[in-house]
Structures are given as structure tokens and as C-alpha cells.
Symmetry: C2
Subunit: 661 residues, 2 copies
């Protein structure tokens, strides 16, 4: 049997620690399996009872009738249960028990031992600290999740992988109340073995799954998730993520130098984008978006930079405006093809046939990219009448969403049943459109061959950092090392002089940087004080340009190599004006990044100012990003600050490189 | 009878145009009045019928039995109906009919005539284009709003004034479904006479009203609304607004020079803030926030700049994190007094008594400013048990909010009934906390006496603008007007020379500005080309400082005089880094504004940089804001760009002044 079969369609499950007290969490899996019609064998394992909730119980896995395809472990003695699984050839164990990576360092060590032993035994693990597995079409409710107390949640094409068991329950309970149908739902817990990535891979191949939702607190297997997301995409299954940590993680990573500009959440955004994963901002948008994107590919807007256009049909001006206002905040235009107004107000017109005809004409119009139908009070009192024309709209060609202004459960359910995306709040509706229009094909990482880092340095100073950048093909400012007391050099004036040290992070503030030295006398005079600060300086040709930029590289512990470009200078630093992508990037991709940096508008023709060589800056960024291809990925962090952008060319003036370890 | 009585508690209402066809909108008021138990007399007015829906009908208001306290006009012949009201002494007419300001210029003129005639007749108008008036405790449903089809919406203390009739229905239907109780709801339509401000004033004095909600598309009577909001505040009734136009209006006003930086939505924010009105960002937060703020005053956090602290108690880590994450984005900290963790997780502990004790101890703790209880799946299946300890918490001392992660209508209703703020989404919950913690006392406009603008100019050039600023007490750069060909002057070097013209907006780009002229020879050489551009230049002492700022004044057509301060330079302009308040402001208030400008961190001690005289900048801003006190408010717009902030002092270098008309 395949992993998917043993996980989602076991012939027999062992419930290790099944309680005879129906009120206990550990009694739930047995109750839920029965309640939701599991057709396989259910084997309660309980050393103290011969019978559990009316079923014959066994003292151990070994004593139960074999074969067992899936064990659900709910006892503290997880290790013992795992040994039993190994001995009996149980291929998968889902572990509800906690006290592992969720419980400090000792717990993490325990988890590592558990995972290692499972590998030896050939047992795949879900969890620990997992709430289990649900397959609604397959009638498997192998879970302690209380949400399964509900009557038959509708089966359908939405599958979900969640790092929070309770939030899996939240999405299922809210979605089911709405009439949305779900397929497979997995609570991954601590991901000691089976992780989000591998599960997304299984769902990509699952015929019942048509959309994959992710509730994430972190990413533990970025490479695997990236690969699985690609496969899901290739299979025509959109992946949508809601991820926590927008504020907390951002703050934590702000300590690192590049991190302060890049921000961890920007790294996550870059990761999702490059994997072709849509990221929603609002919790309910996570499931409300499913019918909007099911069966669709990323939007093609044709000419680059064109704003997406949504045609809005409404029976209430205020209701439409509440969505339109937020679409505008995301740069999405609202259009009314063939009309003067920005929206199509059918308030007074409004026969059902007219409404249907209007919708259908918009759904085939070349003048909009998606259609939004806003329905007012009729959705509350005449659901069938209100949603009828929407249900029959020819929405194959284009995404169609509805927002119902009143409290209108019946209308929401009709729309869900009909496969039409229906949003309860104007904000979730706008968020879903934003996520959809930001959706890209998974990015092809540019071809590049691994190379050896052309240096033997282990600790870089500014000179060796610039040398490394030069070796990557980046134009760097002419520099020479000079020694006290004379600091002899042959760099042509004007020059700058800087204390050379890997240890002084903020040289300028330490008084270790002297700019604008215009001749030899000036040099002699101004470098005198430096002799006291250290014996060695870097003499560098003064570079002038139109604007300063910053470029960075970081091997993120979660998502791997990243490259960043931003506006330079302290003002830009204050505004955190940076753009991040997974590394490496091509020059064309780097040009797109540069185009997104607000402050670099100053060299893109803003107010008639002279244009800078943004192509050269993009080449610098692309070259820096190639650190991701260095054999063994030895570089933890690298930064060029500033890159001076000239009318012709761009030059790296200052930089740092930090190796791992 | 008072206006409030005739509006909300009429002894008799005339329904002008009441239809005998129960399916028509115009039949609704009669049906709704009966359905919801109106105790007064209902008089259908219909020239073609002797009876309407079982009630004796009259051919005109004049023929109906008098006195009539309130007429609801639903016919196109509004003017005729108004005359009838005037003749019969009907003190208030609510007008559902449209075709006025909602219908172009001709309609606007028609509305102006109607309003003028109503004043002559002594009839107060609600509308036109109003859906009417609802008073739930008073059992008045004088409205065409379909939402009243519902069975007895709960009566309570929430009142609402809405510029959108359908969105009034939306809030009532969603709130009522939740179990929230409403008092008075008014759809103001076009506000030809009775506007949002006057209605808020009535609600401020209404004993049944405890919280006032506003759904706004614009502001038509800012001064009156400001005054009414103050009275509501004095009466202990929080006012909460949801306002559209965050993106659209912002774009429109971006055309004006100061507007480009200030943005109209920032003006609205300033207005709401100064009026003591809380502004929510999400639609559902508008009503969900009511129990959170009812009976409360703006928070006092003690030391200025301290982050607000919310203690979070939860039975689900993922659910709490979904709120905490967003609170963090608004700069709100989460705390767990007396514990190591950032939140208080009772998942495993969880007896009801423990939960209650924890809540109560937090509600009296000096270590947090508000409390959030997050409830997981128990809210779905055991509502009574789940919300019991929350309902009995001693929440007088501190705001207490709940977020329920699953679909949990019964729990939401129990909480609403118990007066506990309950949020359906993590985002609305965080939005409400943000609005609450941003809530300020209505601002006392600093005492200031009206003065005459000390100038007779009607069109200002840079010289006369600087003179006006100097007259306001602002330090300006030494300047002299000089004429071709010699451009004789006595300003001490270094100087700048600028073409003097009110017509060249962007002098720098036109080549009309020469900086850094260091002596007389240099001057002669460099000013030669200017002789061709125009005969007159301004010679100005070159001012050097630490940073450039921008200060602006604008008499906003909606909210009146505004003052703005921002970081200067093109980069800051790109980032729209400005802070806006209603003008005038005191120096202390201007200092608060300056402290909020991100880019001015450069002179607040950022990275060890020298500190600038931010007090002097604040004095400049406060002085500029005094334009709001000029008799007749002749100034449309004024801007100082740049103000150069020095270590000691701040000086206005360039500016513009535009008068109205």
C-alpha cells in the first residue's frame, strides 16, 4: 500500500490509548470513526480493558489482529508504541501525544530520537502533537479534533494541511457551516517526519483534491514544500496559504543587518510567490477563496504592469463601494465595460434576466479580468431569487465572486453548493482578489552551475568582501590597502579612507570613514587620526552617482537563499523600502525587483530627474544572488551598501560578507 | 414637540404614496409599522384609493386627520407634498424619493430649491433619497428598508446614522442575527437639511442610545458633526465611524500640491481623531466594537508613547496567534502578567473556575490595558459552558473582548446578550482594539484670536509668501528681490538665486534655481542666464541644516483647515511620510506630530546622528496652522518646502500661498 493509502484509507486502524470514558479526548477517534461511517476495522488498544465503548479492545498492537495500516497513538509512552508498530509492520503512526519539540530542548531531543528510531523501523510518523487525519469522501475521521462532533460535514474538493490542529477545526467548521465541501485535512503537529511539503505532494496526486489550503505558523521543509507546490500547480491544483508571523517574526529577524531591511515576512512572501502559492491575509479568505481559484491558472494580464480590472455588478452602491474601496488599496481597478460609471448599479433596473445577461456579457468581455456580484437585502429574504442568475452565470472564462451585504446564510449556502465563491465580508472578498491577482506561475530558477567560492577567507573585511563581489562579476570601487604611518597608495584622487576591520560594524559612526579627500596633502592631513585607530586602512576612489542603493543576500534558515534590493541611505532604511526574492535571480527578474523599489523612482525618470543605469544595478543584484549557487552554500549573509547607481553603470562601494558557522 | 420626538416618536405618520400592492417598496413602511408594533396613527396618502392594505387612505395630507407629526414621502411630486406639509404644519418630512443631488447638476439645483422652500415653510427634511427612520425600542419602523422584513430585531443601546440605506440594513441584519440590540437607525440620504452632525447631536441626547455608529461615504457638515461628537463624548457615548473613500478619494485629492502628501483619507483620520470619533477599518468591526467601548472613555496609557498591552487568555494557541499577529502590526503588545509566555494558554488546564479566576485577576491587573479571551471548539458544541466564565467576568475596569475560532452562532449570541464584545474574525477583533487604543479625547482647539491676514496680496510669489510666513512668526531665510541686468543685492554670501514668479511651480526643474553661489564673481557669472528667463530674481541666503522638512496648510473642502508636517526631499515625498491634524495646533501638539514623522527620526537621535531643533520645527508648524484663524479664512493652501531643520532653529526657505477663489 502507498503512503497515501495507509494514511488516508487504512484497512485497519489501531487506537493506542483509546479511552472508555466517552467524555475524554482520547475516546474521540473511536466515536468519530463510527459516527462518520469508517468502513475499515477499528482496534482500540488499552492494556486495562477488554472492551472500549462497545468494541473489543486489545492490550497492545501486537495482540491485535493484523495487518494494521495506521496507528493513532494517544499515550505518553510513545516510544513503546512505536516499537510495537515497527515489530508488527504498521507503516504509519499518527501521534497525538505531546511532550516533544513542543516542550523545550529536552523534548526536542526526545523527538529527534523518536524520528531516528522510526526511520530505522520503517515507520512513517505524523506528529507528534498532531490532531490526526480526516478524509471526508473516504469517511475517515481519525482525529481528536472536536470539530468532528458535527454532523456530516459536506465532502468536496478542498483539502488542507495545518500546523495548528484547532485552526484546522476552525476552517472545517466555518467552511462546512457555509456548505463548502472538504476532502482531506491533516494536522501535522511537530512534523518530526511527515511535513507540510510531503503532504502537499500527496494531495497534489490525490484525485479528490482540487484546491489545497495551508495554515502555517512556520515553514520547516521549504525545499520539499516548494517542489510539492510545483507539482500541485502542474496538476492544476491551486495552493493557498495563510501564515502567521507577520509581526512577531519580522521583529525577531530585524536584529540581523540585512534582516532589518528584508524582514522575515517579506522572505515568506518571496517564497510563496516563487512557489506559485497564493497567500491570503485574512483568515476567512483562506477557505472563501477556494471556489474562486479552483481549476484556474495564474492570471495573465498581458502587458506588464497593467492594473487588474474587476467589473462590479451590484444592487447596492454602498455594499459595492465597501469592496471597491479595498480593491483600490491593492491597486485593483474597478471597471464597467461600456458604461460611464465605475460600477454597474442594477438597483433600480433589476430583473433576474437582465442581471444574468449583464453577468454573462462581462464574463466574456475582454475589458475585465474578473467579475464581482454584490447582492443586497434580497440575499437575506429571497435567497433563491437573489442568487439564481449568479449560479447560472457562464463563469468558466473568468473568476466570479459574490459579496452578500446582509446576514444571509441561506444564500451563502446556495452559492457554495453551486461552486460560486461567496464572501461574507468585503475585506475577505478584496483580499481574495488581491491574492488571485498576485498569483504567479512557480518561478523557474535560472539555470546556473554550482561554483566554488573563489576565496579562502573565513572572516571578511571590507576589502576581501569587495574582492569577492568583484569575482562574482560586480563592478566595485577601486581600492587599495594602505598601512600606517604613511598610508602609501596609488588610487587616483578624490579618494575616501576607511579603517579596515571586520569588527567595526558601523564605521561611519565610529569616525573611521573619511570622505572627499581631494589631493595628497589633504590625504596626509586627514588620515593622521586614523593611525591611532588601527594600522591599516582602505583607500578607495570616491564614487559619485545619482542615487545610492543597497543589495543583500541571505541564506534564510527557513526558506533558504534570498536576494534583496532596496533604496539606500538612512531615509530609505527608515522606510524599509526593499524588495526580496528567492535567490538566484536572473537579470530580468532583478530588473523587476528594482522596478518595485519605491525610492529608486528617483532614477527611473521621476520629475524629470536624470535616469540612472537600473540595468547595471539589476546586474549587480543578479550577480550577488549567485552566491546561492556556491558549492556548500557557505555564505550566511552578504550586503553591498551602498551600490552607487550612475547614469552609466553601478558600482559597489562598501560591503560585508559573513560565512556560516 | 421636539425634533427628536417628531422624528422618532411621532403620534401620527402620513405615508405619502403608500402602495396597495404589498410587493412594492412603497408598501413597506405601512407593513413594517404594523409588523413592529407602532402605537401611533398611520395615515396612508394615496389620491387614487380609499383604502390601502386594509387602512383608510386619504387623497392628500390636507385631507387626513391632523395633527400629523411626520410625513414619509415616496412620490415623485416631492415639492407638492412639501407644500402640503407646510400648509398643515407637519414639522418633519422624510423623503425616500430620489432625483435630487443623486441625479446630477439639475437634481442638485432641484434639491437646493426644495431645501430653501422647506426652511421657509418651517418643515425639517430627512433625505431626499433616505430610506427612513427606525426606532426599535420605540417600535417605529418608518422605512422602506427590506431589513425590517425580519422578525423583531433586538432592542438595545446601539444607534446608527448611515449615508447608505442598504448598509444600514447590512449592519442591522448582521448585528441582529448576532443578538446585538439597536435603538435608533437613520438613513440620511442626500442630507438636504438634516445631516449626520445634527442627528448625532440628537442621539447624544437620546436616553436610549449608548453607542453611536456612523457609516459614511463623505462628510457634508464637518463643523456640526465635530460639535455633536463632542456632546456625545461628554454624554459618555462613544462614536464609531466606518468611512469609505480610503483609496478613491485619496487618489482624487492627490492632484493638489499639499494634498499629494497629505491625502484626503489622512484628513479624515485627523478629523475623526480630533473629534474623539473612533474609526474602524473593517465593516463588521463597526458593530462588533460596540460592547467593547460602551460606557468607556478613551484609554489612558500613562507615559506617552507606551505601547498598549492586551492580556490574552486562550484555549487554542493558533487562534490566539491569529489575533496577536495582527495586534502586533498595530503596535499593540500582548502580555501575560506573572507568566513567562506571551499568552496564557489554558488548553490543558481549563476548569471553568480557573478560567474565571484568571480572567478576573487580569481585569484588575495594573499590567495590562485590556483582556482578550480566545475560545476554541468548545464554543461550537458547548456554548453555555464555553462562555460562562467570560459572561461573569468583572469587566467594569477594563475592556474585555472575545474571539471564537469555530463557527459558533450560539456562543456569539450568548456573549452579545451578556454585553460582552464578541468578534467573528481575528482581524475585526484586532481592528477594534486598534481603534480603541487610538481613541483620544476630543481635542480642545488651542485658544487663538482671529486676526486679519497681514497682506493685501491676491497672488503670492515666493517673496510675498515668505513675508506672510514671517508675519506669522516663522523664521524665514534672508531674501531680497533683485532686478536684471545687475541683480544688485546686499544678502551676505553664500546665496541662492531663484526666478521670482508665482507661475512656475517647479522652478528647479525649469532651471530657475541656482544654489551655492559663494561670492560676487560667482554670482555675476551664474545669474547671467536668469536675465533671459525673467527680469526679477530672489536672492536668498543659503541655509544649511541637518535635514529638510515640509510643512503645509490646507482648508479642506470637507473637514476644514488642516496642518501637515512631513519629511522633506523627494525620497520622503515618494514615501508620503506626512502627519496631518486639524488646524490650528498648539506647539505641543505640533511636537507630537513631528514625533510621528518617520523620516524626521534622522534628527531625533537616530544612529547617533546630531539632534535637530524639532521644537523649532514644531513652532513653525504651529505658526503656519494659525492661518486657520485668519478672518474669513482666505487661504486655500500654503506650503513651506523646505523648512530646514538645524541644530538650533528651523528656517523656511521656500514656500507658496494660494488664496481661495
Amino acid at each position: 500500500m502507498s503512503l497515501a493509502q495507509t494514511l488516508f484509507a487504512p484497512r485497519a486502524v489501531a487506537l493506542v490509548g483509546a479511552s472508555g470514558d466517552a467524555n475524554k479526548n482520547t475516546a474521540r477517534p473511536q466515536r468519530f470513526l463510527a459516527r462518520h461511517g469508517f468502513a475499515g476495522r477499528v482496534l482500540p488498544i488499552n492494556p486495562t480493558r477488554a472492551e472500549v465503548l462497545g468494541k473489543r479492545a486489545y492490550r497492545s498492537i501486537a495482540e491485535a489482529p493484523q495487518p494494521i495500516d495506521h496507528a493513532f497513538i494517544m499515550i505518553p509512552e510513545v516510544e513503546q508504541a512505536l516499537e510495537d508498530c515497527g515489530r508488527c509492520g504498521v507503516p504509519v503512526a499518527s501521534i497525538f501525544s505531546d511532550g516533544f519539540a513542543d516542550a523545550g530542548e529536552a523534548g526536542a531531543a526526545r523527538q529527534a530520537r523518536l524520528a531516528a528510531r522510526a526511520r530505522e523501523l520503517g515507520v512513517r510518523l505524523l506528529g507528534p502533537n498532531s490532531m490526526g487525519v480526516i478524509d471526508l469522501p473516504g469517511r475517515l475521521a481519525l482525529t481528536v479534533n472536536a470539530v468532528l462532533e458535527m454532523d456530516a460535514p459536506p465532502a468536496g474538493g478542498i483539502s488542507m494541511v495545518s500546523q495548528s490542529g484547532t485552526m484546522l477545526g476552525t476552517v472545517l467548521s466555518r467552511g462546512a457551516a457555509r456548505g463548502l465541501g472538504f476532502a482531506k485535512l491533516v494536522s501535522v503537529g511537530n512534523e518530526a517526519d511527515l511535513g507540510v511539503g510531503e503532504l502537499v505532494g500527496l494531495l497534489a496526486e490525490d484525485p479528490a483534491t482540487r484546491v489545497i489550503l495551508l495554515f502555517l505558523e512556520t515553514v520547516r521543509d521549504a525545499a520539499r514544500l516548494a517542489e510539492a507546490a510545483r507539482r500541485a500547480h502542474a496538476a492544476g491544483k491551486p495552493v493557498v496559504a495563510y501564515k502567521l508571523g507577520r509581526s512577531v517574526l519580522g521583529e525577531r529577524l530585524a536584529r540581523s543587518h540585512t534582516g532589518a531591511l528584508a524582514g522575515s515576512d517579506a522572505a515568506m512572501d518571496a517564497f510563496f510567490r516563487d512557489c506559485g502559492i497564493q497567500r491570503v491575509d485574512l483568515l476567512e479568505a483562506l477557505f472563501e477563496i477556494a471556489p474562486l481559484v479552483e481549476g484556474r491558472a495564474p492570471p495573465r494580464l498581458g502587458s506588464a504592469g497593467r492594473a487588474p480590472r474587476v467589473a462590479v455588478v451590484t444592487t447596492t452602491g454602498g455594499g459595492a463601494a465597501s469592496v471597491v474601496d479595498r480593491l483600490g488599496l491593492s491597486g485593483i481597478e474597478t471597471v464597467a465595460p461600456g458604461r460611464d460609471a465605475p460600477i454597474i448599479d442594477l438597483t433600480m433596473a433589476g430583473t433576474s434576466a437582465q442581471y444574468a445577461a449583464t453577468l454573462d456579457s462581462l464574463l466574456v468581455s475582454p475589458d475585465c479580468d474578473a467579475v464581482l456580484a454584490v447582492v443586497g437585502s434580497s440575499a437575506m429574504f429571497h435567497p433563491q431569487h437573489a442568487v439564481e442568475p449568479i449560479l447560472h452565470a457562464r463563469r468558466a472564462a473568468k473568476p466570479l465572486a459574490t459579496f452578500l451585504t446582509p446576514h444571509a446564510d441561506a444564500s451563502l449556502a446556495l452559492l457554495a453548493k453551486g461552486g460560486v465563491a461567496a464572501f461574507r465580508t468585503p475585506e475577505a472578498c478584496a483580499d481574495a482578489f488581491r491574492a488571485y491577482f498576485s498569483w504567479k506561475e512557480p518561478r523557474e530558477v535560472p539555470a546556473g552551475i554550482e561554483f566554488d567560492l573563489p576565496t579562502r577567507e573565513t572572516k571578511f573585511n571590507e576589502k576581501s568582501a569587495l574582492e569577492l563581489f568583484a569575482a562574482l562579476g560586480i563592478a566595485v570601487a577601486e581600492s587599495q590597502v594602505a598601512h600606517a604611518p604613511a598610508f602609501a597608495h596609488s588610487v587616483s584622487y578624490p579618494v575616501a579612507a576607511k579603517i579596515l576591520s571586520a569588527d567595526i560594524a558601523h564605521k561611519t559612526e565610529a569616525g573611521g570613514v573619511i570622505l572627499d579627500i581631494f589631493d595628497e596633502n589633504d590625504f596626509r592631513e586627514k588620515t593622521k587620526p586614523l593611525a591611532n585607530l588601527g594600522g591599516t586602512i582602505l583607500v578607495q576612489r570616491m564614487e559619485r552617482g545619482l542615487v545610492e542603493a543597497i543589495a543583500g543576500y541571505r541564506d534564510d534558515p527557513l526558506v533558504g537563499p534570498l536576494v534583496m534590493v532596496g533604496a539606500g541611505g538612512m531615509l530609505a532604511e527608515l522606510y524599509r523600502d526593499t524588495v526580496v526574492r528567492l535567490a538566484p535571480v536572473s537579470v530580468a527578474e532583478a530588473e523587476e525587483m528594482v522596478a518595485e523599489v519605491k525610492g529608486l523612482a528617483l532614477v527611473r525618470g521621476y520629475r524629470g530627474l536624470p535616469r540612472g543605469d537600473v540595468r547595471a544595478l539589476a546586474e549587480t543584484v543578479a550577480a550577488l544572488s549567485r552566491l546561492a549557487l556556491a558549492r556548500g552554500r557557505p555564505v550566511a549573509e552578504a550586503e553591498i551598501n551602498p551600490v552607487i547607481v550612475k547614469r552609466d553603470g553601478a558600482v559597489a562601494v562598501d560591503g560585508l560578507v559573513v560565512l556560516k558557522g
